[in-house]
């Protein structure tokens, strides 16, 4: 095995450069070489991205300096997502990164909360989430390291400009030995066995490889196109198939959370970046036409528009396999789930993290391919069900979409989850994949599903004590929140993009 | 001129002479056989222990075993107990017969036992020897021919009075026409051309003519050495014992069905139980101990009253370079001597006889036959020699000069090769002609403290649990068989009790 295995990544953007950086960092250079083929002509779908806390783990693994990354990508912090109008008009709940209640108690915290409610307290579950309290107060600080205090019960993620992130990663990846090839793919050649062998660029250049990562976007040039992996359609569960992204000037406070507002035929995102705000309307063309959607979007914005909304089309679903032969698809080429819960980058990242330990040393081993696909099945299915939940569990009377989603047939496993929560507040826990119990809890409660009963174990605690503990917790949270810096302030101190730009400018000027 | 041998003359009686006479009378009929012996020349009758091939010899002669046992005051023998050989206070048993049973895998049982030992099994391999089990419990019985797949038969031999054995065979031979001539041979007449012996001349002036001569004249080798100067190969550097003091003692109340060989200061002491008395003797190296010390040591350790004074015999370990020259073969002491540590004396006579019958020549005595015979007899002696040397060499004793000598002496290559193999794989890989097989070598070497490192690689094929079950099954079968046997003395009483002896000797 003298020749290093040639890895060829088709497509740049977040998916391509995340893959490139990860592979060039985590695979030994003497055995693997990484080449990325992208065309500046093909526009990257950069819509201002919100992420999940796993992003930080990924960056840490790659040795990326958080502050530097944030500066380079105009990033802000994210403590969760504020869902507005989802359950019913006027509703607002936050799906936080973190647990409700104190760290690690035996009985699920919300069961105690439920008992307090039935004893007459009118506390909301959000009162007991440190992350939510901080988010709503526009405050931010890093969570405590130890596992015992209330301010250790949360995590955070970022909002950033995905195309800047891609660029940032590109610098790193190239610096670590990845090769970039500019060009558009004209054709793809397979070898006698049917494995992908060569990319033929329009320039005439041939890029040969042993292993291919398809980051070609919706077209899925390699996995879907050449290797013919079937598409599994999920649009009957997730009918949204269009997006109208539009940037606006940031005028309001810098909120440490994403806002997702339900609209007539879909939902609108609001992602705060340092230099501007990213917005967009994700909607279903079955239930609203483009023009009406544009109207509805522009009418709902609370900040000055910086550019015209550009329509994107997509379909909910995925390739039945993410890895076929010597090709793994990442990002849009492997599947699409609307960014309702900021899972797009997560899916790319988790695919990379699953792939690296299973990365072939030569021709792919069917056993490893099977395991990878099994894991990706799990990731996709779990996210899909969670997203369906948002749509299904609504009580809005306005909008065909909502009526459709409320009455549609959903996967059995989801129905069962809803029913048992409705009965006694029970939520299953998983070992791997998203989403964990606190997430489900947020959405269930936030969208109006209140358990009819609480767990009998909550009755085992003397009521006095239970109420006192909860009260103390609320107070403790409020107190600590007050002591936290404002998000904007913290950000400025920690990772000010502008300052970075200025200093870079100064340096440039000084040279002149 | 007729080429068949018509007249055979055996010079010397005793066990060797009469065994030859009997065998020839039975198997080479129609010939005139004359045996010349002198009652003046005493025979070396020290109580003899034998090994199982003697049963074949008896069968060759058509001898009824019970009658034979009665007439020779014999007891039965299942093996030899070696005491103090490895170290003082230690004993082990050299069993007759097989170990365990054939497991039908092509790999001998011994290796499976060794495998069991290596994984923590019992260190006494003789739990898988019916003979040993019976010997330990003082039982004996002749077992009927067993059906295939069952346990092997029990192997045994006899302990008898050598002189009564000779007498028995004399009666047998004379009944079949062997002529005994009393007298001493004083001269030998050879053919001037061929050098073949034509006749022996007696003291009384008569001569006995013969076509073929068998020299059973003892150490002197009247014909083989004094006429033909075959030469003697001295083995005393490997086997320093050169004397034996023998003394009969009272019979044991319960005669043991085995011989005891007990290592002593400068040699070893035998105990051979017969029906009417017990034979004892101390075989020793005169350069390491004096005759007086031996006599004291011997008499001091007798179980039972001595019935006579110790008689000392002298000998030299070694063999005649050729057992057959021209028309004469040597048998018994005239062909060589190895101390009776493994009861091989009579066997070597028997081997010489049966081989002679096999090689029975025409009058001219083809040299090719003679060379082959000599080769094979040499081999017989050498393998027995090596076996005996092993008893001395493989010891932990360093308490006397004698044992220090033995422990550190150099040994023949043929023996050191066997020891090397044994250390590696529990077997010595004897040649087809070797008298002692792997079981015997194992008994001695392992008994004397040499534990092999490994065993036959293919013995690992069987699963552990199968092995354990089979071992347990075999052990159980052995116990059951031995349980059913009568006591040794009871067995003798039932089928072959000798007539009571009126005289002590």
């Amino acid at each position: 095995m003298n020749q290093p295995l040639q890895i060829v990544i088709l497509g740049g953007g977040t998916a391509g450069w995340m893959a490139a950086t990860a592979l060039v960092t985590m695979l030994p250079r003497q055995r693997y070489s990484v080449t990325l083929v992208e065309s500046e002509e093909i526009g990257i779908v950069g819509v201002g991205e919100a992420t999940l806390p796993q992003m930080k783990n990924f960056n840490d693994l790659l040795g990326i300096d958080e502050a530097e990354m944030m500066r380079s990508t105009q990033a802000t912090f994210k403590l969760g997502i504020d869902f507005v109008d989802w359950g019913y008009l006027g509703s607002s709940y936050v799906h936080p990164f973190g647990v409700h209640g104190p760290p690690a108690s035996g009985l699920a915290f919300h069961q105690r909360w439920q008992r307090a409610l039935s004893a007459g307290r009118d506390w909301t579950i959000e009162d007991f989430s440190f992350a939510i309290a901080a988010a709503r107060a526009n405050r931010f600080d890093f969570p405590a390291a130890g596992k015992s205090t209330i301010n250790s019960t949360y995590a955070y993620a970022y909002h950033f400009d995905a195309s800047l992130y891609a660029t940032y990663l590109r610098r790193i990846a190239e610096g670590r030995g990845a090769t970039r090839v500019e060009g558009k793919v004209h054709d793809v050649e397979q070898d006698a066995k049917g494995d992908i062998q060569t990319l033929l660029l329009e320039s005439g250049e041939r890029v040969e490889g042993d292993f291919f990562i398809d980051c070609s976007g919706f077209r899925s040039l390699l996995l879907g196109g050449k290797l013919d992996v079937e598409w599994e359609d999920w649009s009957h569960w997730l009918p949204c198939d269009r997006a109208l992204p539009v940037p606006t000037e940031r005028t309001g406070d810098l909120t440490p959370y994403t806002r997702v507002t339900a609209m007539k035929a879909g939902w609108r995102w609001r992602i705060p970046l340092q230099h501007r705000t990213g917005n967009g309307y994700v909607f279903s063309s079955r239930f609203i036409d483009e023009d009406k959607a544009r109207e509805e979007l522009l009418a709902s914005l609370d900040e000055p528009v910086l550019a015209e909304p550009r329509l994107l089309k997509f379909q909910a679903g995925r390739r039945t396999k993410s890895w076929e032969r010597n090709c793994v698809a990442l990002g849009l080429s492997s599947g699409f789930l609307e960014p309702l819960e900021s899972t797009s980058i997560y899916l790319m990242q988790i695919a990379i993290m699953h792939l690296v330990p299973l990365f072939p040393g030569g021709r792919p081993d069917a056993r490893l391919v099977a395991e990878f696909n099994r894991r990706m099945d799990l990731e996709y299915d779990r996210i899909r069900d969670f997203l369906i939940l948002h749509y299904h569990l609504n009580s809005r009377e306005d909008g065909e979409l909502w009526r459709y989603c409320r009455s549609m047939q959903v996967p059995d496993s989801l129905t069962r989850k809803i029913e048992i929560f409705r009965h006694s507040g029970y939520i299953e826990d998983y070992r791997d994949g998203l989403f964990n119990a606190p997430s489900w809890l947020s959405v269930f409660l936030g969208q109006g599903l209140r358990p009819e009963h609480y767990h009998p174990l909550a009755d085992a605690i003397p009521l006095e004590r239970l109420l006192a503990e909860l009260d103390e917790l609320r107070t403790d949270i409020a107190f600590r929140i007050d002591e936290m810096p404002k998000h904007a302030t913290f950000l400025k101190r920690y990772a000010d993009a502008e300052a970075a730009n200025h200093s870079a400018l100064h340096k440039a000027e000084a040279r002149l | 001129m007729e080429s068949n041998i018509r007249d055979i003359v055996i010079v010397g009686g005793g066990t060797a002479g009469w065994m030859a006479a009997g065998a020839l009378a039975k198997n080479a009929p129609g010939r005139r056989i004359t045996l010349i012996e002198s009652e003046e020349i005493g025979t070396v009758g020290v109580g003899e222990s034998t090994i199982p091939p003697i049963i074949l010899f008896n069968q060759l002669l058509g001898i009824d075993e019970d009658e034979f046992v009665r007439e020779t005051n014999a007891t039965f023998k299942l093996g030899i107990e070696f005491v103090d050989w490895r170290r003082l206070g230690h004993k082990y048993f050299h069993n007759f017969g097989m170990l365990g049973a054939d497991l039908h895998t092509g790999v001998p049982f011994l290796h499976y036992w060794m495998r069991s030992l290596k994984s923590g099994g019992d260190p006494d391999q003789l739990r898988f020897s019916s003979e040993t089990e019976a010997a330990r419990r003082g039982k004996f019985g002749r077992v009927q021919r067993a059906p295939p797949g069952a346990q092997p038969n029990m192997h045994y031999a006899f302990q008898f009075d050598a002189s009564t054995y000779a007498a028995y065979l004399r009666r047998y031979s004379e009944r079949r026409g062997v002529v005994r001539k009393e007298g001493k041979v004083v001269n030998v007449r050879q053919n001037a051309e061929t050098g073949f012996i034509e006749a022996v001349e007696m003291q009384d002036g008569s001569s006995v003519r013969g076509d073929f001569f068998i020299d059973c004249s003892g150490f002197r080798g009247l014909l083989i050495e004094q006429v033909y100067q075959a030469g003697f190969e001295d083995w005393s550097h490997w086997l320093p014992n050169d004397r034996a003091a023998a003394v009969p003692a009272e019979r044991m109340a319960e005669p043991s069905p085995f011989t005891v060989a007990r290592a002593r200061e400068a040699g070893w002491q035998w105990r051979i139980p017969l029906q009417h008395r017990t034979g004892n003797g101390y075989v020793y190296s005169s350069s390491h101990i004096s005759d007086d010390e031996v006599a004291t040591a011997l008499l001091g350790t007798l179980e039972g009253k001595a019935l006579a004074d110790p008689k000392v015999l002298r000998f030299k370990a070694g063999r005649r370079r050729k057992s057959w020259v021209k028309n004469c073969i040597a048998l018994g002491l005239s062909s060589g001597f190895l101390e009776p540590l493994e009861s091989t004396s009579i066997h070597l006579v028997q081997a010489g006889i049966t081989k002679f019958l096999d090689f029975f020549p025409h009058r001219e005595c083809d040299p090719i036959l003679i060379d082959r015979y000599n080769e094979e007899m040499a081999f017989q002696y050498e393998t027995v020699r090596d076996f005996i040397i092993a008893h001395y060499k493989v010891t932990e004793r360093e308490d006397t000069e004698f044992w220090r000598y033995c422990r550190h002496m150099s040994i023949p290559d043929s023996l050191s090769d066997k020891l090397t193999l044994f250390r590696e794989r529990s077997e010595v890989k004897p040649y087809p002609g070797d008298l002692f097989g792997d079981i015997s070598w194992f008994a001695i070497l392992y008994g004397q403290g040499l534990t092999p490192e490994g065993y036959h690689p293919l013995a690992d094929a069987m699963s552990d649990d199968d092995l354990q079950l089979r071992l347990a099954g075999i052990r159980k079968a052995i116990m059951e068989r031995v349980e059913a046997l009568p006591a040794h003395s009871e067995f003798i009483r039932r089928c072959c009790a000798a007539q009571p002896v009126t005289t002590a000797a």
């Binding site: 690296v356 006694s424 009755d459 | 094929a461």
Partner: protein, 502 residues
């Protein structure tokens, strides 16, 4: 108008009965739940032994059981590992221990470093890097506190005299004021899928909102419910007999349970304080009970004394472990041969899930569905772990073992074996009892030699890899050296009693 579950009747026998009654009362008693125990005739023979996983200790903690006292009462001996011999021709015995933390060794699971080292000529086996295994081999008990620096620690299970243990638990239940009725069931009154009440032969009536069936393979309540179905696993597991017997105690107590395969099944040797328990698990197709009894001493290499009792084994599970208001726990829900020391763990796991899914109302119990789902997954993973031993067996020309190799297996298990064969990686699912380390020791011990390893391992140069591995080897050896021997551990139990601490 709904009401809470106020009365729970646990119907069953032996340790599972008492564990269930005590656990429910402990956690839900303060919430007003009243527990009754209906004790059916015991099925324990005098030679029976419970061989347990470390999880039992946490059940004891939950119940507030004095560990030392319990071990004294039940002749208990700590078990650092199980040792499997003769499961493959020519292969050495292998250990499966209970390491909690593998120890930090960089970014990858330690076995990856070992695999590379092994390929480069490292002679130390994987067991040398397992605190549990090294302790087991040295007759020592891996106690805490853990080496917090290297973060290496291990747990241990127990061998317990079954009757004594059950008796001690019964005493505990009695002391806690739980009502106990003893006898046989004469009648079970049903209303559709609900049990209204039961009547004992002595005439006593028991009514409750929730019934727990802890009656083992009898499934005395479950099988009377409409739609109850037992799904047999006989196609996957050939053994259908369990024999228990006793031998004298070991003079010096080993720290492991010995599990030896033989032609017809396997034999477990479980050291206890005052005797050694022997378990033989086998297929009646291959060996009759009489022959098994006759051969037991030889196969166990211990002289067996006293009674040898044979009972039937029917591996499998209920399609629905919870129907209506009746929940099965332990063997009543899932029956499995005791190869992986799981019988009590099965009871404990079910009890745990029952408490987590304790019905919120007495009238309707939709908790049954998630309970059934989770028990099915829980049982399936345990069955997979057990079956893996058989699938990987290397005994040839023996029908029992051929059959075991050819038996159908779940896709999950095949996938696990495939993945480990390819990369030395273990992929755990939800509701697993056994950890990555357990599976790794099983797979390596069972003879799988992975074709490759995690490519990231090559980022580490040879020298640092060697150092990392050596440091780990030393750390484990050092820790193990300071652990008490089993004899010392057991001796200390006695001392506590002498001092009067209970």
């Amino acid at each position: 108008m709904t009401r809470r579950v106020e009365a729970v009747a646990v119907v069953g026998r032996d340790a599972p009965l008492w564990l269930a009654a005590a656990a429910i009362q402990r956690s839900l008693g303060p919430a007003g739940v009243r527990v009754q125990a209906v004790e059916l005739p015991s099925w324990l023979a005098s030679a029976d032994c419970y061989s347990t996983l470390p999880s039992l200790a946490s059940m004891h903690r939950l119940l507030g059981v004095d560990e030392a006292k319990m071990l004294r009462a039940a002749s208990g001996v700590p078990v650092a590992a199980q040792r499997f011999s003769n499961w493959a021709k020519g292969a050495p015995p292998y250990l499966i221990a209970y390491d909690d933390q593998a120890g930090e060794a960089g970014d990858l699971p330690f076995v990856q470093y070992w695999l590379k080292g092994h390929r480069e000529g490292l002679r130390a086996g994987i067991e040398d890097f397992s605190l549990g295994c090294v302790c087991a081999r040295a007759g020592r008990v891996p106690l805490g506190p853990a080496d917090t620096e290297a973060k290496i620690s291990a747990s241990y299970g127990y061998n317990l005299d079954a009757r004594d243990y059950a008796e001690a638990l019964k005493q505990l239940v009695t002391n806690r004021g739980i009502e106990i009725l003893s006898g046989r069931i004469a009648d079970v009154k049903l209303d559709g899928e609900r049990v209204i009440g039961i009547e004992l032969e002595g005439g006593e009536r028991v009514e409750a909102d929730l019934f727990v069936d802890a009656s083992g393979a009898e499934r005395v309540l479950m099988m009377r419910l409409p739609g109850a179905e037992f799904h047999s696993w006989r196609d996957r597991f050939s053994c259908d007999r369990v024999l228990t017997a006793s031998a004298t105690q070991f003079k010096s107590l080993p720290a492991f349970t010995q599990i030896s395969a033989f032609r017809g099944g396997w034999i477990g040797i479980h050291p206890l304080q005052d005797r050694t328990a022997i378990t033989a698990v086998y297929s009646s197709d291959g060996i009759s009970d009489q022959t098994m009894i006759a051969q037991l001493s030889v196969l166990a290499r211990l002289p067996v004394s006293g009674e040898a009792v044979v009972s039937e084994l029917k591996p499998g599970l209920l399609d629905r472990a919870w129907i209506g208001n009746c929940v099965a726990i332990g063997e009543a829900a899932v029956a499995m041969e005791p190869l992986a020391a799981i019988p009590l763990h099965l009871a404990q796991g079910c009890i745990s899930h029952l408490v987590t899914l304790f019905p919120a109302t007495a009238e309707e119990m939709p908790e049954a569905m998630p309970y059934n789902d989770v028990i099915r997954a829980f049982a399936s993973n345990i069955a997979d772990f057990t079956q893996a031993h058989y699938l990987l067996n290397g005994r040839f020309d023996e029908p029992f073992w051929e059959q075991s190799r050819e038996a159908p297996a779940t896709g999950t298990l095949r996938g696990k074996i495939d993945l480990f064969s390819a990369r030395g990686e273990v992929s755990l699912r939800d509701n697993e009892t056994f950890s990555e380390q357990n599976w790794t020791l099983l797979f390596l011990g069972g003879g799988i030699e992975p074709d490759g390893f995690d490519p990231r391992i090559d980022l580490l140069a040879d020298q640092p890899l060697i150092e990392l591995v050596q440091q780990r080897l030393r750390a484990v050896a050092e820790l193990a050296k300071n652990m008490p021997s089993v004899d010392q551990f057991v001796g200390a139990l006695g001392q506590l009693q002498a001092v009067g601490v209970s």
